[in-house]
Each structure stands twice: as structure tokens, then as C-alpha cells.
Amino acid sequence: MKIDRSRPPAPGAAAPFTFPVWERHRLANGVQLMMLPETRIPLAHVEILLASGAEADPLEHRGLTPLASGLLDEGTQRHGSIEIADTVELLGASLFTSGDWDGVYVGTSSLSRHSEELFRLIAEIVRTPSFPPVELERLRRMGLADLANRASQPGFVAGRHVLNMVYGREHPYGESLAGTAEGLSAIERNDVRAWHRQRARPAETTIVAVGDVTAEQIGKLAEEHFGDWAARESHEPRRAPAPAARVGRRVRVIDRPNATQTELRVARVGLPRDSPSFLAARLLNLVLGGKFTSRLNLNLRESRAITYGVHSRLSGRRGPGPFTVSCAVDSEAAGIAVGEIIGEIDRLAAEPGPTGEIADAKNYLLGTLPYRIQTLEGRVDHLAEIALYSLADDFFRTLPAAVEAVSTEELESCAGNLLRTDDLAIAAVGPAAVVQPQLEAFGELEVIVENGPPDLS
């Protein structure tokens, strides 16, 4: 029988999917455990997360959380950097320590037969890091060199300028997470130790364990290695303040006379991850620029061919992270690109739903959930999201109903707040002689010339 190719085939019966069931426990001192056993593949992934990140770093120490997080596995009171790396790698395992705006993460992934030994090690790293002065100096120097080198990447430069324009230098979000040369240079070992005292606290610690380990095993390990961890006096963790309101559109052109393209960032303040409007905002973002078939990409890439790709991103942080449109465009078309970006935001703001695109966005958001939890790493990330942003424990199990329930009124109200173009910050890294005349019409414009060694202050 010949098949009919003239139209897309009808789907079969959908197989049921719900986010896997996981378990939560709490130790007496406040440490939380989130466990999702999965015995199919003999791997385990354990992550300890501390729920306070770079948003709480002093402004004069920008870059503290990434630097200090990187130092955690460079020595403990019992083991040196070399011993730690040798132990982990002989087991074939990976150990990672990192920090972002909202938290600090210490984790391992390995064959599950090694998870007990690795658990002991990461507990030690979280509780008793020694921050050896020689390692601090080494990582600081590497951080400084890395910052200097990233100042050559047009995308990085555009990104940090636009954050600076949106939040100002007095707000933690007003710089890249990597920090500044001044901040990194000013950090002393005592600052790192104080950082550890403030961040590593039982009440703000969550252990996420997924894979081929039982809840019983993890419960026992947690009790053994964290049970005697004394709760500290209660304190309110420092959070990013509300960003100052900005008025008017501003444009900054960072001159790169030889650049063969212009890196553009168009941004404003978005929403906190735990905002009740966040789901509506994600749907609007998917329509605007969050996927390949979003309006922006169909316009600037598929229709105008002035870029390899454009996307918009809603950065879900504890505070209101940036809402950013990013692309690298033909320098001759920078003005068209900015005009179209503003036009697409305005158009969606005027008519945020109900359209078929919102239904498609809902299906995309829900349909890709199984894809995103194929790996243990993906599962850890989802549980960590619940922990960091205090989402309901059944957040992902009830997500289908919540997504379906997002109404036109909610979309309209969210669009009114999020999709504004009167206070956009526009940063362009490219040849000013070509770009400046095209961008003058969009707002108050300044041109910045970065000469010689990059100014990363």
C-alpha cells in the first residue's frame, strides 16, 4: 500500500509520561536530601548545593563565588589538591565545583560502585576546604588571564556591556558572572574563608542524588557525613536588591574597526524564577525567540538572512535576571536587526495570544521534558531547580496542568510587564563607523573605544 505523503501523518497514541517520583528527607540540622533512584544504568550522580551564590558577593569582590567555588577541591584539612584529583580520577569519576548567581555546586558522577567513597570526599570538600594560599594565587592569576582573553570575544564583550547598561555597576547582575579584574585582585584568603562560613550552612544545603543508589544508602551516607554538622545561628541570606528603574532606550557601540560582523545584545530586566508569571513569560519567550522557529529567527535568519541565528533568553534567577536578545549580524544590517527586534517585541506585546504559536510553545515546553531528563545530569538539574527556587515538590509532575492552565489574561498581563521596548539597553560590538549611523535613531547613543589592554574594571 502506497502511503500518502501529501500531509503529515497523524500521531499514534501518546505513551504516558510523568516526571519520575523522587523522595525528600531532611536531617535534624536542616540539610535537605532529594533522591531519585534509577537502576537502569550503573551510574550515579551526586550534587551538593549551597543555596547562595554570586548575588551575595560584595561588589568590591566581584568574581568571589566562581573563584572560591573553584578552590573548594584544591585542598581540604585532610587532603591536598593532588590527592583529591588522584583519588577521583583513579575511580574514573568526575568531580566538579562551580558557582553561579544563585548557588554553589559540588558534585561527582561515576560508576555507582564508587558512590560511597565519592560521597565522603565531596562532603569533606564542602565542610572542610582549606583554601591553600598557593592555589588561591594560581586560580586568581588564571582568572585574570581568562578575563583579559575573553575581552577579545565580541560576544562576551557585548554581553557584559548590556548587563552593565541594564543593571548599573551598583547591582550584582550588572557584570558578567566571571567578575572583574579589580574584584578578583582584591580578594584575600580571609574573604574566601568568610565566604565559606557564610555559604556552607546546613539550613541552606541540599544533597541531590540520582541514579543507581538507593534512598537508604544516601540517607545513611548523609547522616554519617553531615549529621554532626552543627546548625549555625539563623540568618537571612543576602539576596540581590531590586534593580533601579531605567528610563529611556540607550545604545552603546563598542568600536571594533576590523570586525567582520556586529555582535548585538538587546536587553532589559526580566522576572525572578519564582514569579507567578514565569511560566507565561517562558511561553512568550518561546514565541519571540526561544527556539529555532521563533518569530525573531524566522525574521532575521530565514527571511532576511542577516544572521546565522538569533535567540532571546529569559534568565531565571532568584532575582529578576536579564531578558536578552542575542545575535551576530552583518554590520551593514545592524540597524535593520535592532529595528526588527524592537518591532517583534512590540508586536507580541500588542497581541500576546491566543494564537497557534502559544499552543505550539506549550507543546514544545512539555514535549521536550522527557528529552531533558534522559541523563542523570539532566535529572539533577531539574531537582536542583526545585531546591534553589523553592518550587513545589510536585512542580514537574504538575507542569502539564500548569502549562495548559496559562490563560490569555495571564499572557497579556505578563506581556505588559515583560515585553516593553521603552527602556531597552542595546549594545553593539562592531565597526562604529558602519554601525553608529544606523543605531542613532534608537536612543541615546555612546561610542566606546577599548584600546590596548582591555579595561575590565
Binding site: 500500500m1 502511503i3 505523503r5 500531509r7 503529515p8 501523518p9 500521531p11 499514534g12 505513551a15 504516558p16 509520561f17 544504568i41 550503573p42 551510574l43 589538591s81 584529583a85 588522584d86 577521583v88 580520577e89 583513579l90 574514573g92 569519576a93 568526575s94 558522577s109 561515576s110 560502585r113 588564571m142 588571564a145 581568562d146 583579559a148 582573553n149 575581552a151 577579545s152 570575544q153 576590523n258 570586525a259 567582520t260 560582523q261 555582535e263 529555532f292 522557529t293 530565514e302 538572512a305 542577516i306 544572521t307 546565522y308 551576530a328 552583518d330 499552543a359 505550539d360 507543546n363 514544545y364 514535549g367 521536550t368 522527557p370 528529552y371 531528563i373 534522559q374 542523570l376 589592554p453
Partner: protein, 426 residues
């Protein structure tokens, strides 16, 4: 040996038109990965027509007789599918992971562009994607710090007529000169069922899935096998060096050696050697260059999974106070030691354990697993060989790795490209 190794069943079928079909049922999630490899890449191009395989990949997302211009991604994304394609030296792949009840949609889309592309091609679509690809090249190569280093490296590693000597994305002039008749010729020569492997991994019933594949692909005509690519594997003799100025703050070295093809014993030993030297903080090069002497910001070594032959590449970024020569001398100490001293058994064990674990970690994703199956079917002639590497890691000995290093990774037969701070070439 690997008692912990997960096993997944594999079925293989060949349709009458030559399409190689690989099935790996695994129903732990209601997802199926559809992965289609065409055995054509930039090596099938010729000088003056570079970048065409990649440009052609873009054209395959521009619609076919029954699929509208922007519908491929639209139809997949609206059902929660994740899709893309990529081009390399020897192959071009197209893939989508979809909810399993939408498998038929994915097969309809892939078969329509395999069978019915040309009538939907227009000059306008070509012009448009040519501009997109030129912007892709600017974004990834020309306007990116260190972006031209690989291009220079391959130009020196391989003779000018060798098909790995030009970049996959192609030269700007060639991309600009691509014509509609090139699209037609390329399609008819290479995009035939007998030059492709279709892998389905995930939630599917093999008989049902195979019947569906037969329905959608069975009637597409096969074609004569595409012309083989001839390449001289004459080793380059001596050491060649090039220095590129770029808008960077830190110098970076790229050191490349020609080694045997993917799938050979030599390639595997090179893979082990690359890991033994640079993988993880306990590796000797990281520990010495980055941690102890602090000459380098980073160091890594890798081998490419290429078919005619391969390259072993060391990349290392100098600290601001380190000169490129000083860093190269330090790298050479390690390469020479690898050629003369057998790795200590614990160092070898570390590297092997790390490789095995990360390979198993990759198998968690249906899309990565499907891609590995297609790769094995295409390059090694048997999808089941996708686990060969794990067994080989277990069998190999430190002595063999040393012998390999001595014969293949010792100066003077190599290329060194250094990117230094300065002005970017126009």
C-alpha cells in the same frame, strides 16, 4: 571485564534500495531518536567548491515537495521534538528526538527530503542560505578569537589536494559562488538511500518501526555508489610552523600529527595517549604545565574521528608571561617522555577508567547513542562495533601506547600553528 556495561539490543536491516537501517529498542522514556547519516562530507568536495556539503545541509531544511519551506523545524518543535543536523569531513547527519508516538512524522520528514527535494529547490532559497552560512562563517571563524587557527593547521597538515586540507565550512569565495546546479548534482550523487544509514534508538517496536521505515523509504530509488575519494596519505616530512596574529591576549599553540584512521588500532592508542597526557587534573601535562610550572592556562589533546586518516592535536594556551617557545619546549618534554617511558600503571588505569566511565555516560542519551550507532555502521561497517572502544580500552597496554607515541607522536613530523596577540588578518 565490563560487568557493569549496559547492553542494548541491536537489529540491522538493509532495504532493497540499499538503505542501512539500525534499530535499538529501549523504552525507558517515551522518546525515540531518529538519526540519519549520509556518507558525504567536505572530503567529497574539491578545491574551488569548498563548503558545499555544509551549505547543502542547510538546504535540506528548506523544504521538499510535501514539506513547506520552514515546516521541518516547525512541525517537529510543535510536538516537542528536538532536531538539527551537522556536517563534518566524512559525513553529514540529520537527527530528531521525538515523543515516540510521533515517530512516523520524523520518518515522513526525512524520507520526503531524501526522495523529493529537488523540485522544491529555488534560487531564492539558495541565495538566502548562502547569506546565512556566510554569517555563520563570520560568527564562528572570521570574527572569533583564534577562529582561523584550525583552518591554517589543516592547510599545513595536509597537502593542498588532500580533502581534509580545506575547512568544512568552506572558504568565503567558494560559499558565495555556489550555484543551483551544484545542489542538484550533489543531491543526485550523494543523497541516495544506498549512501545512508538510518538509526532509530528508543521507544519503538522493531517490527512496527521497520514496517514504517519500509513504507516511507522503501520506494525511493537507489543509485550507483558515489565515487570514492582518493587521498594521498604520504606523510608530511619535517616540522612546519606558522604564526598567526589575532586580536587575543594570550598566545595559543596548536600541534598536530597525522595518525591512522578512526577505527584502527593506532587511532585507539592515540585516543588513550591523548587522555593519558591531558585528561583531568591528575594528568601529567595538566599537573606540570598548568598547576606546577604554571606556564599554561589550559592544555588538551584529542584525536578526530575521521575516516581516511586522522590527526592527533595538542592545544595549549600560554599564560601572559610565558613565551610560545617556552611552552612548546615544555610540551615537547612530555611528548618525548611518552615516546620513551612506559606510563606508570596507576596513570594508565586512571585514564582508562575515566574513558570507560565517560563513554558509558554518553550512552544515557538516546540521541548520542543513535549517533554512535550510525557512526559505527558508516565507518566500521557494523553498528554493534560502537562498543568496541570499551573493550579495546581494557585490552590495550601502556607498552603499546608508548610504542605508538614513539612511532607517531615524536617530532619532527608535525605542524605547529601559534596564534599570537596582534591584529586580526583582514
Amino acid at each position: 571485564m565490563t560487568d557493569y556495561l549496559p547492553t542494548f539490543p541491536i537489529e540491522r536491516h538493509r532495504l532493497a534500495n540499499g538503505l542501512d537501517v539500525v534499530l535499538q529498542p529501549d523504552s525507558h522514556l517515551p522518546l525515540v531518536a531518529v538519526n540519519l547519516w549520509y556518507h558525504v562530507g567536505s572530503k567529497n568536495e574539491r578545491p574551488g567548491k569548498t563548503g558545499f556539503a555544509h551549505l547543502f545541509e542547510h538546504m535540506l531544511f528548506q523544504g521538499s515537495v510535501n514539506v513547506g519551506t520552514n515546516d521541518h523545524f516547525a512541525l517537529l518543535q510543535k510536538i516537542g521534538g528536538v532536531a538539527n543536523g551537522s556536517t563534518s569531513y566524512d559525513r553529514t547527519n540529520y537527527y530528531e528526538t521525538v515523543p515516540s508516538h510521533q515517530l512516523e512524522l520524523a520518518l515522513w520528514l526525512e524520507s520526503d527530503r531524501m526522495g523529493f527535494l529537488l523540485p522544491a529547490m529555488t534560487q531564492e532559497k539558495l541565495d538566502n542560505q548562502r547569506e546565512v552560512v556566510m554569517n555563520e562563517r563570520r560568527q564562528r571563524v572570521d570574527n572569533q578569537p583564534y577562529g582561523r587557527a584550525f583552518e591554517k593547521l589543516n592547510q599545513l597538515v595536509f597537502p593542498a589536494d588532500h580533502p581534509y586540507s580545506w575547512p568544512v565550512i568552506g572558504y568565503m569565495d567558494d560559499i558565495e559562488a555556489a550555484r543551483l546546479e551544484d545542489v542538484q548534482h550533489f543531491f543526485e550523487t550523494y543523497y541516495r538511500p544506498n549512501n545512508a544509514v538510518l538509526t532509530l534508538a528508543g521507544d519503538c517496536r522493531p517490527e512496527r518501526a521497520l514496517a514504517m521505515v519500509e513504507d516511507y523509504f522503501g520506494e525511493l530509488p537507489g543509485a550507483p555508489p558515489p565515487p570514492a575519494v582518493a587521498a594521498s596519505c604520504e606523510p608530511t616530512s619535517g616540522e612546519q610552523r606558522a604564526v598567526l596574529e589575532d586580536e587575543v591576549q594570550l598566545a595559543r599553540l596548536y600541534i598536530a600529527y597525522r595518525i591512522p584512521a578512526f577505527g584502527s588500532r593506532g587511532w585507539l592508542l592515540a585516543d588513550l595517549l591523548a587522555s593519558a597526557l591531558t585528561r583531568g587534573k591528575s594528568s601529567p601535562m595538566y599537573r606540570d604545565l598548568v598547576q606546577r610550572r604554571q606556564l599554561a592556562q589550559d592544555v588538551s589533546a584529542a584525536v578526530l574521528p575521521t575516516e581516511l586518516e586522522s590527526t592527533f592535536i595538542v592545544i595549549t594556551t600560554a599564560r601572559p608571561e610565558t613565551s610560545p617557545d617556552q611552552l612548546l619546549a615544555a610540551v615537547d618534554e612530555h611528548l618525548e617522555r611518552a615516546a620513551h617511558e612506559v606510563l606508570p600503571s596507576h596513570a594508565f588505569e586512571r585514564c582508562r577508567n575515566g574513558l570507560v566511565t565517560s563513554y558509558i555516560e554518553q550512552l544515557q542519551s538516546l540521541d548520542l547513542r543513535a549517533d554512535l550507532l550510525s557512526q559505527s555502521a558508516t565507518f566500521l561497517g557494523d553498528p554493534a562495533r560502537y562498543l568496541d572502544r570499551l573493550a579495546a580500552y581494557q585490552e590495550a597496554t601502556p607498552r603499546e601506547v608508548r610504542e605508538f607515541a614513539e612511532s607517531s607522536i615524536a617530532p619532527p613530523h608535525r605542524v605547529v600553528v601559534t596564534v599570537v596577540p596582534g591584529e586580526a588578518a583582514a
